[in-house]
């Protein structure tokens, strides 16, 4: 399990691995250029202590500026590469989600639409701090301290020993205090995020809260919950911060030890620690300046630990999304489907979850209307989706206009279909665009025929209203009539309708039924899933699908 969580998150970054490695390399080089800055300051102070100054003031200033520019420039490039890598990875993953969701239908039991959208839109962004901050910090923590350690030992085994003893202690001590606490703090931070969900929940129900006069109670309740959360979080943070405090303490003590040793050695009170000859003031200042640099990468890495944790959580979410069972949608091919509109089912078996649904064989002749009758859950809607090529048969065949429904023919076949879903999702577009894709006068005609023109006229922006923005805006019956208008406008050869009269009052149900029959009178075939006996009785044939 531990191994799993270690090897998996990084695997997601495989497509951009080389760029990330380049970024880390540049970050190390930038860090090492910092040694040059230390050399210049040491030279200045050394020169003041033991004249003459090796270089002129402006030379030292310029040298310092040069090394700084090198460090900053390399750092800029390193950050740029890291961003480019992370950005490309995130964009690839976004595109993967869009393409997959467009080409397949997830089986029930996945994360749901809201969760997938949150993953694609916000959560993926959390991969970025992980890849841009934690990755380079980790590489720096592996290289830079070693280089500084070698330099320290080169001049003074005493200072080298200070680094050697305090350096490795840091990860060990962090592991002691940190891991458990950080795990707890991470779950706690997830709970802080749940505060948003709680707020969102209540804002969605604002009208309900208002009409029930529950405002003060809901607000007090929310404040109480937030207060409890804060107390618990603070209790966890008290422990969690100990690990970073320990890290700082070790770093501070390390630096102080180096400073004190340097001081005593320079006065001459301490003669051990170097190799024979006394260490010059320049070198001593240089080593003192290196001390913070020795600990900094480790501290950066520890500071970015949280980024890694949230990045890994996102990687796990992506794995879960990828593991969702999906059914592919047919229709990559370009074959044509011509001829009269016949539809024939032979030996058709569909698989829905764990169930297999077998359908009776039948043929739908051009202009004929058929009711698929059966109780809820018998597989009526699934049959419509299969006829539209959205789910592939487990066995058996669907023949449309004499050709088998396959990847090659599905697209052309669908171009001849109309579709009335039970519940319409209004997209982020105007109502007019929902009905038809053009500025066609036929749209007005279709709206009138579906008996919905008056309703549309009463909307805030009439047929230019974006219903998604209104959070609904139409009653169930009105929305159903919009789908009818869309079907009328499309002049389909075959109309598939899923429970077109369910949940409707008698008047609207009658209106929809008449609309459907008029379409048939104009030549369309109808395939209607329903459990409305009145509607079924008015169609040419009834096919029962309750036998499994």
């Amino acid at each position: 399990m531990e191994k799993n969580s270690k090897s998996r998150p990084e695997a997601i970054a495989a497509p951009v691995k080389s760029t990330l490695r380049l970024a880390s390399g540049l970050a190390v080089l930038s860090n090492l250029a910092g040694l040059g800055q230390a050399i210049m300051i040491a030279a200045a102070l050394g020169g003041m202590l033991v004249p003459p100054m090796v270089w002129l003031p402006w030379q030292i200033a310029l040298g310092y500026l040069g090394f700084s520019a090198l460090r900053i420039g390399l750092g800029y490039l390193a950050e740029g590469r890291a961003f480019a890598a992370a950005d490309r990875l995130i964009r690839l993953l976004r595109q993967e989600i869009i393409d997959t969701e467009a080409r397949t239908v997830p089986r029930p039991g996945g994360g749901g639409v809201g969760a997938t959208a949150a993953l694609a839109v916000e959560k993926l962004d959390m991969l970025q701090p992980w890849l841009t901050r934690f990755g380079p910090a980790k590489t720096r923590a592996m290289v830079v301290p070693l280089v500084i350690l070698a330099i320290a030992f080169w001049y003074s085994w005493a200072i080298g020993l200070v680094f050697l003893l305090t350096g490795p202690l840091i990860p060990v001590a962090m592991a002691f205090v940190g891991v458990a606490a950080q795990r707890r703090s991470r779950s706690q931070l997830a709970k802080v995020a749940s505060l948003n969900d709680a707020l969102m929940d209540r804002l969605t129900a604002l009208l309900d809260i208002r009409v029930l006069d529950a405002g003060p109670h809901v607000v007090a309740d929310f404040a109480q919950g937030a207060g409890r959360l804060k107390q618990r979080t603070m209790a966890v943070l008290k422990v969690a911060f100990l690990s970073s405090t320990l890290l700082e303490l070790l770093a501070a003590m390390g630096i102080a030890l180096v400073a004190i040793y340097a001081g005593l050695a320079l006065i001459g009170q301490v003669s051990w620690g170097s190799y024979g000859t006394a260490i010059s003031p320049q070198v001593m200042v240089f080593l003192l300046l290196l001390a913070p640099e020795f600990y900094q990468p480790l501290r950066d890495m520890s500071a970015a630990w949280h980024d890694r944790a949230s990045g890994a959580a996102v990687a796990a979410d992506i794995d879960a999304w990828r593991a969702t069972a999906r059914d592919p949608i047919m229709g990559a091919g370009q074959a044509e489907v011509t001829g009269p509109t016949t539809l024939a089912l032979s030996g058709l078996v569909l698989r829905r979850g764990e169930r297999r649904i077998a359908y009776p064989d039948f043929t739908l002749e051009p202009g004929q209307s058929v009711a698929i009758l059966g109780p809820s859950g018998a597989g009526k809607s699934s049959l419509l989706l299969a006829v539209a090529g959205l789910i592939a048969p487990e066995s058996g065949e669907i023949t449309c206009s004499g050709q088998p429904l396959t990847d090659a023919t599905a697209q052309a076949w669908r171009a001849r279909l109309g579709w009335m879903p039970q519940r319409l999702h209004f997209m982020d577009e105007t109502l007019r665009q929902t009905v038809g894709q053009s500025a066609d006068a036929q749209i007005d005609h279709a709206l009138t025929r579906a008996g919905v023109a008056e309703v549309v006229a009463a909307l805030p922006d009439q047929d230019q209203t974006v219903l998604g923005e209104l959070g609904g805006g139409l009653s169930g019956g009105e929305a159903r009539r919009v789908t009818l208008a869309r079907a009328i406008y499309g002049k389909p050869d075959l109309l598939l309708a899923d429970e077109p009269t369910a949940d409707l009052d008698a008047e609207t149900a009658a209106l929809v039924t008449e609309g459907l029959l008029r379409l048939q009178a104009e030549g369309a075939s109808l395939l209607i899933a329903t459990h409305d006996a009145e509607l079924a009785a008015r169609l040419d044939r009834i096919i029962e699908v309750d036998q499994l």
């Binding site: 003031p57 740029g80 505060l195 009208l207 911060f241 697209q411 998604g468």
Partner: protein
């Protein structure tokens, strides 16, 4: 900027003490950091100078102790500072959400209806998230940087040399000021656009998934994918712009710091060589200058996030500022709660059904009676007084509206029903469930603990409708307003529920906006609007 300050102040009202401690600790940590490096530098250089002059060791003891104390003190202060500032931040974000909820719950109906749109709600949540960083990423680093500069200026002037103090301060203030102001201006617009682009992508993707079947059958899927791909590309281009600006700020600040150190180096060496500056004090100056750089570097994140935060603060402040005060309070008489309108007149135990085509204003009429929409003509009266004159809270005690679209909150049936009524008895809950014919359904799925899913999605439309009805009945209203109360419920059940409601609330005046025969048949009278 002003809105940002307002939000910050308002969220921490009553928590000034903790905030001040947090700020003080932030300042201490910054100051000790500067002092630590200065003393350590002075110790080494001073020791070197003293050692060369064969000075006694006694003078070394004090500074070396100071170094150790400062190191320990800094660590301890840092721990305390983290704790206190996280406390402040958590307070801030809890208050931000709480106050927003309170303000919106009391805001005009128009505002509430506007918030039903998913995009507006998502943007609001994004704004709230953006503001979470105000304390830790903006205020505290700014305080630390400011204090660091002031403190360093003082020490440099007093101990080292006014020339160096001025050079360092001027360098940092001018350099960092230019970099930060350019950054804020450059990032501000783009980060607002990026936020907008993110919401567009979200909406498009949700559309793609929810309308997958529609889009596929009507051949619109390739178009939707192409549009989304384009929007994603646009958003990433904006992100790249923001990142480049962010990196330039980082590099700009770092260059500023380096230039100031280089300047300090040149000035220090020159002053030293002419004998104007002792070696040890020269060291203090250099080390302080180096240390100052760190306090400036933490402003990078603040600069990039500032624009986004300011924008969010403006919008959130606008919502928080809404005038929600109501004046006076008169309890409604328990007796004759008659509702009079130009169209009808209903008393206790009577019912009326308002019919009319969609858009005729049936819902508006109900909202006006409930006092949620203004009735400037003052033609609607309750107990003889125009609704306009009632305080909403008083009215809500005796009147309950079930709007056309309702949302259930809470994880269980019990939680959904008892919204705003924390101490309601189980027997009452069970009774209203049987009134709306939901008792059986509930029994098979865990009774009052029946899980509802997010927003009640585990229920069918008709079931959710009935739970919303039950929720209203629980309040025992004297006036019950129902907007298409039985939508999604079959006629037989609907008739039964309406009969049950009348039996459960025999003395209630019921006003219904309806289009179904079963509802108009139930009502004593029927009036047509429009």
């Amino acid at each position: 900027m002003i809105a940002l300050l307002h939000v910050f102040r308002r969220m921490l009202q009553g928590h000034r003490g903790v905030l001040m401690i947090g700020l003080a600790l932030t300042i201490v940590v910054a100051a000790v950091g500067v002092a630590l490096l200065a003393v350590a530098g002075w110790l080494v250089t001073g020791a070197a100078a003293a050692g060369l002059a064969a000075m006694a060791g006694a003078t070394v003891f004090g500074p070396s102790l100071a170094v150790r104390l400062l190191a320990l003190g800094r660590t301890a202060a840092r721990y305390a500072e983290r704790l206190v500032n996280h406390d402040v931040t958590l307070t801030f974000l809890a208050n931000l959400r709480g106050q927003l909820l309170a303000a919106l719950a009391a805001s005009p109906l128009r505002e509430i209806e506007r918030l039903r749109g998913a995009q507006i709600l998502n943007r609001l949540m994004a704004d709230v998230d953006a503001l979470d960083g105000v304390t830790l990423r903006l205020v505290m680093p700014a305080a630390a940087a400011f204090t660091g500069q002031v403190l360093a200026f003082g020490i440099l002037w007093w101990l080292v040399s006014p020339a160096i103090a001025l050079a360092v301060l001027a360098g940092f203030v001018v350099g960092a000021g230019v970099v930060l102001s350019i950054a804020v201006r450059r990032v501000r617009r783009t980060s607002a656009e990026e936020e907008q682009a993110a919401q567009t992508v979200r909406t498009g993707l949700i559309d793609l998934m929810r309308a997958r079947t529609d889009l596929t059958i009507y051949g619109r899927m390739p178009g939707q994918v192409a549009r989304l791909t384009h929007q994603v590309a646009e958003r990433h281009a904006m992100r790249a712009r923001i990142d480049r600006a962010d990196r330039l700020v980082g590099a700009g600040l770092a260059l500023t710091g380096s230039a100031v150190v280089a300047l300090a180096l040149a000035v220090t060496i020159s002053l030293h060589s002419t004998g104007h500056l002792a070696t040890a004090t020269a060291a203090i100056g250099l080390f302080i200058t180096v240390a100052l750089f760190e306090t400036i570097a933490s402003l990078r994140r603040a600069a990039t996030d500032f624009g986004r935060m300011a924008l969010a603060a403006g919008r959130v402040m606008h919502l928080l500022r809404q005038d929600t005060t109501q004046h006076g309070s008169v309890m409604l008489p328990v007796g004759d709660l008659r509702v009079q309108t130009p169209l009808f007149d209903v008393g206790p135990g009577q019912s009326v059904s308002i019919i009319g085509r969609s858009g005729a204003g049936k819902s508006t009429m109900l909202y006006k009676i409930a006092g949620l929409i203004a009735d400037p003509d003052r033609t609607i009266r309750i107990a003889g007084r125009p609704v306009e004159d009632w305080v909403e809270a008083d009215l809500a005690q005796r009147l309950c509206l079930v709007p056309q679209r309702t949302t259930l909150t809470g994880a269980t049936l019990r939680a959904a029903l008892s919204l705003g009524l924390p101490n309601v008895a189980d027997s009452d809950l069970e009774q209203v469930l049987s009134v709306v014919d939901m008792a059986e359904v509930a029994q098979t799925r865990g009774g009052l603990e029946m899980p509802l899913g997010a927003g009640g999605e585990a229920l069918s439309g008709g079931q959710a409708r009935r739970v919303a009805l039950a929720r209203a009945l629980l309040r025992n209203p004297a006036i019950l307003l129902l907007d298409e109360a039985t939508e999604g419920v079959d006629s037989q059940t609907a008739a039964k529920i309406l009969r049950n409601i009348r039996a459960y609330l025999p003395d209630t005046a019921i006003i219904m906006a309806s289009h179904r025969a079963v509802e108009t048949d139930f009502a004593d009278t029927c009036v047509r609007l429009g």
